[in-house]
């Protein structure tokens, strides 16, 4: 089985996100980087598919040269090959990103054969466009479903589960297939020391990205105003319990 997982380098979740004074970008001076959380799970899913069914996993990203770090992180978890589509300057818009990734996949498949499964994160943590994986799948004329939280292989088809309001929706998809994966599909492993060492030796293939600009243009970024809230301190330690239960009665939560 040949599996491709596409990831994006983003500021590590958890930190406060500040904007540069010109409003054009996130101030990354004091930030660490990671891949988007959904994609960490997509990488884990790719590694598990290869562990269970054989074959090889490849990781691909379109991003700055520094995204080498995220590719090697994926390699440290067991991904075999890495591809970087290097760009300079600000993020590409979703249409342009999808065109470049679609073209790169076509070029890779022409040499190495088709990927049975291509995984994306459901959406990137930072720009949240909710579309690159779908655009790539459409360009490759492959089925695609987003929001996937379960994958099982049954012969030439893949059974995928998606969380919905009423429960889990089930899809039976023929391979080759593209999936947008959501966090919760698995619990990503941590790299081993051996994996870290091996990842340093993985050759990262560079594919210069192509693609015309799309119709969405970022003008400026800002943080929404914080709601000014003066926190009412109900007390310290277990002695505050009575004040908490008073509040629950007042709010009608404790009937």
């Amino acid at each position: 089985m040949r599996v491709l997982v596409c990831v994006k380098r983003v500021p590590a979740p958890g930190a406060r996100i500040n904007i540069t004074p010109d409003g054009q970008a996130v101030d990354t001076a004091f930030l660490g980087f990671a891949m988007s959380p959904h994609e960490e799970c997509a990488v884990e899913a790719a590694v598990q598919l290869v562990e269970q069914h054989g074959g090889e996993a490849t990781v691909l990203t379109l991003g700055p040269a520094e995204a080498d770090e995220q590719l090697r992180y994926a390699a440290s978890l067991g991904v075999d090959k890495a591809v970087l589509l290097p760009i300079v300057g600000p993020d590409w818009d979703p249409q342009r990103t999808a065109r470049a990734i679609g073209d790169a996949i076509t070029a890779i498949e022409a040499v190495d054969g088709a990927f049975d499964v291509i995984l994306f994160g459901n959406e990137s943590a930072d720009s949240g466009g909710f579309q690159v994986g779908i655009r790539v799948a459409r360009a490759l004329a492959r089925p695609v479903v987003n929001g996937i939280k379960g994958i099982e292989i049954h012969g030439a088809s893949l059974r995928a589960g998606r969380e919905a309001d009423a429960g889990m929706e089930v899809y039976d998809l023929p391979m080759p297939v593209v999936l947008g994966v959501k966090e919760g599909i698995n619990l990503p492993r941590y790299p081993t020391l051996k994996g870290r060492l091996a990842s340093k030796k993985v050759a990262v293939a560079q594919v210069p990205p192509t693609g015309e600009q799309g119709g969405q243009r970022m003008v400026t970024l800002w943080q929404p105003a914080e709601q000014a809230s003066a926190t009412v301190i109900l007390g310290n330690g277990p002695e505050a319990a009575a004040a908490v239960v008073d509040l629950l009665e007042e709010l009608g939560v404790l009937k």
Binding site: Q95, F130, N146, G161, R162, M168, L221
Partner: protein, 317 residues
């Protein structure tokens, strides 16, 4: 201007979120709506009550249940025949997914999760959310037909009674699109879910272990609520991801959210901020969660939560 709203429904049951897109569309111009499948034909009255003037009822054998490819293809064909100025859906899982398919088929840009829409003759100026709503972006959208989704909860649904006429539309769908239609459903066990619970007792890294959640479970049980958790907790394998509150988990909106031992990273906050009241329990009075909460108890959750449980039991024996 003419705006087409893609109606989200599940086998004929309207998703209330769709009415937010209808309300946003009314601000732009005359509102048409597209319903997929015969099961949705009965939605005309509900849509008319919210100001939809024309309902395009899209019928095809492949539209019996949800399938992102079939819905996208059918909608794209309708759009090509109508040439509306804009196509709008609410930024739910399905809304964003179907609009992305339409964008891919028409090779047109699609802007997800808008909070402000300034329609114009040239490029439209939009405000959209990033990082799950903790960052905002102003962007310009240049396209013949503007495709966008409205961030869920950014616009309130409101009634605006109109009389709607219906028009049928029969798309030509390739049988191969059956490949991505829902084939089965595993219904969730009945009961309170995290997204709809009136009380959520959330635990973070400070809970320390899977067993540490026992008092939180007990308090949730007493208050008719459920337990939630932060990403740190699921990453440690202490609880299932279905309990996770936040940008990549569930967005909650209870009457009260207890945030126990949760520092309050922005990605957690965006999932919890729709709570009517937030009570933080934390040893650190400077924690983000404490400074943003409505109420706080400064102390060790392992002592405070059992004390609250005991007090509730004393008053409601």
């Amino acid at each position: 201007m003419n705006v087409l709203v893609i109606v989200e429904h599940d086998r004929g049951t309207l998703s209330p979120a769709t009415l937010e897109a209808v309300a946003a569309a009314r601000q732009i111009g005359s509102v048409h709506a597209a319903t997929m499948g015969t099961a949705a034909d009965a939605l005309v009255e509900q849509l008319a009550a919210h100001g939809v003037s024309v309902v395009h009822q899209v019928h095809h054998d492949l539209l019996g249940d949800y399938g992102p490819e079939a819905w996208g293809e059918a909608a794209a064909q309708l759009i090509s025949s109508l040439s509306p100025d804009a196509v709008v859906a609410t930024g739910t899982d399905r809304g964003n997914e179907v609009l992305a398919h339409i964008g891919a088929i028409l090779d047109a840009p699609m802007v997800a999760n808008c909070t402000e829409i300034e329609a114009a003759d040239g490029p439209w100026r939009l405000v959209r959310t990033r990082w799950g709503g903790s960052l905002l972006e102003r962007c310009e959208l240049t396209a013949t037909i503007k495709l966008l989704t409205v961030a869920h909860h950014a616009v309130e649904a409101s009634e605006a009674p109109a009389s709607a006429r219906t028009v049928g539309f029969s798309p030509v769908l390739d049988p191969s699109l059956a490949r991505s239609i829902v084939v089965d459903r595993v219904e969730r066990a009945a009961g309170v879910t995290l997204a709809t619970a009136p009380v959520v007792i959330g635990g973070g890294r400070g809970v320390g272990s899977p067993e540490g959640f026992a008092p939180l479970e007990e308090l949730a049980g007493l208050l008719g609520g459920v337990v939630g958790c932060s990403r740190a907790v699921t990453n440690n394998g202490w609880r299932n991801h279905t309990d996770q509150v936040g940008q990549t988990g569930t967005r909650i909106a209870p009457d009260i959210y207890f945030a126990c031992g949760i520092s309050g990273a922005i990605q957690h906050w965006v999932g919890a901020m729709a709570s009517k009241k937030i009570l933080a329990i934390n040893t650190d009075s400077e924690a983000n969660m404490v400074t943003r909460a409505d109420y706080a108890v400064i102390g060790d959750l392992h002592k405070v939560v059992p004390a609250i449980v005991a007090e509730v039991r004393r008053r409601r024996p």
